[in-house]
């Protein structure tokens, strides 16, 4: 209806001339009101007003809307039969940009123009004269009284608009291209740690793509913002407002639809690379990874007459072979993460039902560090274990050597210590979360209830199985895992006692 953004400038003027005659619809059930107003408006014909119809109800007005296409509706404010609010709701708050005037005959002062402008009552007369021109794109043209005023100016301002957009777009491309160039040439690699697993590959690929999209979007928004701030900024002393642009539905739909498609695409890629990281190789190396406050232990099942598994405080992995990790925890939630492998999985307490798996195929020999990624209380910071990725032959040799070691009770005890106890109990006499084991055997300890006890076999066994029964003064209760009675075999507990016996200062 309005002559906004026509494709060709000449069409714009054609459109303007046609619309100079504005169509008015009068809504009143009172015949005098309508007829009088009709006559008044007809007198103003030179201003291009044409009364296209009169209606008495909202429904009639709605019907007239479709048939008559009025530009303005004048509503009798005093007419009780007409629901003013309904008019307002339908014609002002709705999508269409119709103007509605409410006129009252009670007093000449009372007329309200519901077209988003405030006008003093005395201005109403002028408003009736001028309302046809009030559309901001048309006003200056008509005011000139000139058939083709300022064509050059308008063309220039349209040109200028496009030049701004073109310049800003070029800047966006330059900045985005610069960032993406940096990412391509070492940027992405510098942002991520070394990749040392097969699972890292799809993940890093996706990272690379994500970084580029981020770079583009950052450039797009920031360049447009900074351009606006610099180029269009308010000049000193300028108190006028900027151009009245309310929005653009096509643009809004565009920048809803494109991101929607983009995120769906990325989610699809994310699903694919997740599937890659979960892909199972046949016959992987099995490792039970057990977390507890604040250390890791790794169990490897072995075919041996003496033992069915060996435990190690250091994780060994054969290179280029998938290891399947069965993650569990003795106490609270921990999380397995070697940054170079990229993948991460929490280790949960709660027994067999809560065991979770993670597949890792190391691709580079070397030493890495497993870092607990889930906050696990006081000493979380230091819950780190070494991960050695070695050749298959080295791995086999290490495993055989470990099995051979497991005949001496002291060695068994030391193994238990390193896999279970060392995070809290030192063997050099310094104070840890729990009492040090150095010189522990035979020592007299004061307990929290004030009694004393001499550390002997019975006390050690009780402290392992029923951890909170007798707490040494100065140490908090409830910290030590409660399930060692089930976790450790009798042989292992005996080993621990033998091992503690050897720790004399």
């Amino acid at each position: 209806m309005l002559c906004k953004n026509p494709p060709i400038i000449n069409d714009f003027y054609k459109c303007m001339t046609e619309q100079l005659s504005r169509r008015v619809l009068i809504a009143s059930s009172h015949p005098l009101f309508g007829q009088g107003l009709h006559r008044l408006l007809q007198e103003r014909r030179q201003a291009g007003v044409e009364v296209v119809g009169m209606v008495a109800t909202v429904d009639e007005a709605l019907a007239a809307l479709d048939q008559l296409h009025p530009d303005l509706i004048i509503v009798d404010y005093d007419d009780q039969a007409l629901n003013r609010d309904e008019f307002l709701a339908r014609f002002v708050e709705g999508e269409s940009k119709l103007r509605v005037v409410l006129l009252s005959l009670h007093s000449p002062q009372e007329a309200i123009v519901y077209d988003r402008r405030t006008l003093a009552a005395s201005q109403i007369d002028n408003w009736l004269e001028e309302w046809t021109y009030l559309d901001e794109t048309q006003k200056p043209l008509i005011k000139q009284g000139d058939e083709i005023p300022k064509v050059e100016n308008r063309r220039r301002s349209v040109m200028k608009k496009y030049i701004h957009i073109v310049v800003a777009a070029v800047l966006v491309v330059i900045v985005a291209a610069g960032l993406i160039f940096w990412l391509e040439n070492g940027g992405t690699a510098a942002l991520l740690p070394e990749a040392a697993s097969a699972q890292a590959e799809p993940i890093d690929q996706l990272f690379g793509l994500e970084f580029k999209v981020i770079a583009f979007l950052f450039a797009l928004i920031v360049v447009m913002m900074v351009y606006s701030m610099v180029v269009f900024r308010r000049k000193k002393g300028d108190l006028t407002d900027a151009e009245h642009i309310e929005g653009n539905t096509k643009l809004e739909i565009t920048w809803t639809a494109i991101p929607l498609a983009a995120v769906l695409f990325f989610a699809f890629l994310g699903g694919q690379s997740l599937a890659e990281t979960l892909r199972a190789d046949p016959q992987p190396e099995i490792v039970n990874v057990i977390g507890q406050k604040w250390q890791w232990s790794f169990e490897y099942p072995v075919d041996s007459v003496a033992v069915d598994k060996i435990a190690s405080p250091v994780m060994y992995m054969p290179v280029d072979k998938q290891s399947i990790l069965y993650l569990s925890s003795r106490d609270i939630i921990h999380s397995f993460w070697v940054p170079e492998f990229r993948v991460k999985q929490d280790a949960l307490p709660g027994g067999e039902n809560m065991v979770r798996t993670l597949r890792v195929t190391p691709t580079k020999e070397g030493t890495y560090y497993l870092r607990c990624a889930e906050l696990c209380g006081q000493n979380h910071t230091n819950m780190i274990a070494e991960v050695r990725v070695v050749s298959q032959s080295e791995f086999d040799a290490w495993l055989t050597g470990e099995v051979a070691k497991l005949s001496d009770p002291v060695a068994i005890g030391q193994n238990v210590y390193e896999n279970n106890c060392k995070a809290c109990h030192t063997i050099d006499g310094s104070k840890g979360v729990g009492p040090s084991w150095l010189g522990l055997y035979g020592r007299e300890e004061t307990l929290t209830d004030g009694t004393t006890v001499v550390v002997d076999e019975a006390y050690i066994i009780e402290s392992i199985i029923n951890t909170n029964a007798k707490i040494v003064a100065g140490y908090p209760a409830g910290v030590m895992p409660q399930n060692y009675g089930e976790v450790l075999t009798e042989e292992q507990i005996n080993g621990v006692i033998e091992y503690i016996r050897t720790l004399v200062p």
Binding site: R116, E252, D346, R371, E374
Partner: protein, 649 residues
């Protein structure tokens, strides 16, 4: 209890409340201790902070905190009208008049939404600085590798408190904006439930006291997330204080949200259709809907862990399941993120048109995008749990829903750029903060999709990348817009102008410092630094040492800039230049009133919406009329004046 006379120190509501808290604490401790004696249970433990025992048993301290909170509320006087109603006693229907005027009213109970708004804002700033102070303590430790002056327990306590206290500060800040502005912007003279409003504010004070008491009762080691079984097995008594402090802060959120929703739905003035409301009201409404419906879940989950600790129930360990807690927790705590940022984003949308002198680009799209974000925000909680060990297949649908958040968020960004484009922008302090907010929220928003995509999140989960990401969203979505709002409405609240030079100094210190901090955090996180660790991973130290130092310096610069802002506010409120009614040439209705705003807002002015909120550049147009001349005389009184008093001062 309804103090009307000028009294001494002990008539100040805050003082009465604190005394009440102490009395309640003593009663609670005694009650449980005596009860345990009668039952023949061990009633007391040795006082030994090392072993984390503090004479009374944990249940006694919890009972003390609960009774302390109740006694606080009773003594501060916000519940007294309710008790009067129960007894059939009438109370003044417009109790604002009954309260003190001047600065002192801010320290006592008041039912005036503007006073409550200022109380929220002031408390928010205090708590915000406290939480920032905690951050500076542990950031100093992180400036260099190795442990320097904190031990592990202190470090864990500090970062846990930094997180949770910051969250309380943000909730209070959101409360400040909604409470002060929503009634003014919709043409109401107060909130729908003034007494509930006061209650919802004041409960935050004992909540904060309870929360902070955890420092003295053994500290915290769980982070603000408080995951069991860690939080259930933690030997520290502070854990329980943490749970119940958050519980009551959550109660404030729920009741405050209820009030905002009712006010917005029921108390809009004549002509204030939903699509004519200022955009800030839209976001406050969306925020309140989240707050009302989701907050219960965090209260419930924390209550359950507390019951595990106190009564030995087993919701999340033994036959229970620790993942259940994470679902309950994040079902609130993810939508909560949108509680934190939506009002900030609304502030950006609200202020941009004023400073660009241009209509908000695509008003309806921006308004509905707030609801879009709020709605989608409910469907994404499990993206915090991609590595948690929940059902593996669930990760994919949650990835889709999470990435969908980008769509309504994108609409906001594009609309802001559309508003800026061609706008005649000026650069007063609030304008600068709005622009800074957009750029930082952009950083936060763009660093989101890598976390939302499962496979890349396997690397990023629980690293400093996440820390950088959410600090960017919080600074862009809340902190910067909050400061923009404080500067922008400062003249409206205080009647005086802030110091523009100090305001700009604040901005130009905080913005670059924040970029250094947030980008630095993202960098070290990508390289493999975990969250919540007291010392760097030794292997990483050479790569990230410089970045760590820079982050710490940046944190101190941010701290300094906030101090400058506070000094600015305090001094300007007393001695600033007297403000005009509408220093920003805003169309918003609150700027039609004198500064500071009179007690009854619009009083019996006929408030009527006659245009659109953001028609800058449309000559002669206006949003709202409160001019009695214009009001048709035989018109039935507008809805608002039904609640206005017959005669105002």
């Amino acid at each position: 209890m309804n103090e009307q006379k000028k009294g001494g120190f002990f008539s100040i509501g805050l003082v009465k409340g604190i005394l009440g808290y102490v009395v309640g604490m003593v009663v609670g401790l005694a009650l449980v201790t005596v009860l345990r004696m009668i039952l023949g249970l061990p009633a007391t433990t040795p006082w030994d902070p090392q072993a984390k025992t503090f004479f009374f048993v944990e249940g006694a301290w919890v009972a003390g905190a609960l009774l302390g909170t109740i006694f606080f509320i009773l003594s501060v006087g916000v519940a007294s009208d309710w008790f009067k109603w129960m007894r059939g006693v009438e109370t003044p229907s417009h109790p604002q008049d009954a309260f003190e005027h001047g600065a002192k009213r801010y320290l006592s109970a008041s039912f005036d939404h503007k006073v409550i708004g200022v109380q929220y804002g002031f408390t928010s700033l205090v708590v915000f600085m406290l939480a920032g102070f905690f951050a500076l303590i542990f950031r100093t430790e992180l400036a260099a590798p190795g442990m320097q002056y904190l031990n592990l327990d202190q470090y864990n306590t500090m970062f846990t408190l930094h997180g949770i206290v910051m969250i309380v500060a943000i909730l209070l800040g959101v409360g400040a904006i909604s409470n002060y502005l929503v009634p003014l912007m919709i043409g109401a003279n107060d909130m729908a439930f003034p007494r509930l409003n006061a209650f919802a504010f004041w409960i935050n004070v004992p909540a904060a006291v309870t929360l902070l008491s955890s420092i003295l009762l053994g500290g915290l080691e769980t982070g603000w997330t408080g995951y069991p079984p860690l939080s259930q097995t933690s030997p520290s008594l502070g854990m329980s204080m943490f749970f119940w402090g958050v519980y009551f802060a959550g109660m404030s959120s729920i009741l405050g949200s209820l009030n905002v929703i009712t006010t917005t739905i029921r108390m809009r003035a004549k002509g204030m259709g939903y699509f004519r409301m200022p955009i800030l009201v839209w976001t406050a409404l969306a925020t309140a809907m989240i707050g009302l419906t989701a907050t219960q879940l965090i209260g419930l989950s924390f209550q359950m862990v507390s019951f595990e600790r106190l009564f030995g129930m087993t919701f999340f360990h033994l036959e229970g399941n620790p993942i259940l807690f994470q679902h309950l927790f994040w079902f609130y705590s993810h939508p909560a993120v949108y509680v934190f940022v939506l009002v900030g984003l609304g502030t950006i949308s609200e202020l941009l048109p004023v400073f660009a002198r241009k209509p908000l680009f695509g008003y309806k799209w921006v308004a509905l995008s707030a609801f879009g974000i709020a709605l989608v925000g409910f469907l994404v909680w499990a993206h915090h749990m991609f590595t948690s060990g929940m059902e593996s297949y669930l990760r994919v649908p949650f990835m889709y829903s999470t990435l969908l958040v980008a769509v309504p968020t994108g609409i906001k960004f594009f609309s802001w750029v559309g508003t800026l484009w061609g706008g005649k922008l000026s650069f007063e302090t609030p304008s600068l903060f709005v622009l800074g907010a957009i750029s930082i929220f952009l950083l936060g928003g763009l660093s989101g999709p890598p976390n939302g995509t499962v496979s890349t999140d396997l690397h990023l989960q629980d690293t400093y990348w996440i820390v950088g990401h959410f600090h960017a969203t919080m600074f862009g979505g809340f902190v910067f817009p909050f400061f923009a709002a404080l500067y922008y409405w400062f003249p409206k609240v205080s009647g005086r102008m802030y110091n523009e030079k100090l305001g700009k100094l604040h901005f130009f210190l905080m913005l670059p410092a924040f970029y250094v901090q947030s980008l630095g955090q993202m960098q070290v996180g990508l390289l493999g630094m975990r969250r919540r660790i007291a010392d760097y991973d030794p292997a990483l130290a050479p790569d990230i040492q410089l970045t760590q130092l820079l982050i710490t310096i940046a944190a101190f610069v941010i701290g300094l800039s906030v101090l400058i802002a506070v000094v600015n506010f305090v001094v300007s409120a007393a001695r600033g230049k007297v403000a005009v009614a509408n220093p920003w040439r805003s169309r918003s209705p609150e700027f039609m009133l004198p500064s500071p705003i009179p007690v009854h807002n619009y009083g019996d002015h006929p408030f009527e919406v006659i245009g659109e909120p953001y028609d800058y550049g449309l000559a002669g147009s206006a949003y709202v009329s409160i001019d009695p001349e214009r009001a048709p005389k035989r018109e039935e009184p507008p809805a608002v004046s039904a609640t206005a008093p017959a005669a105002t001062d």
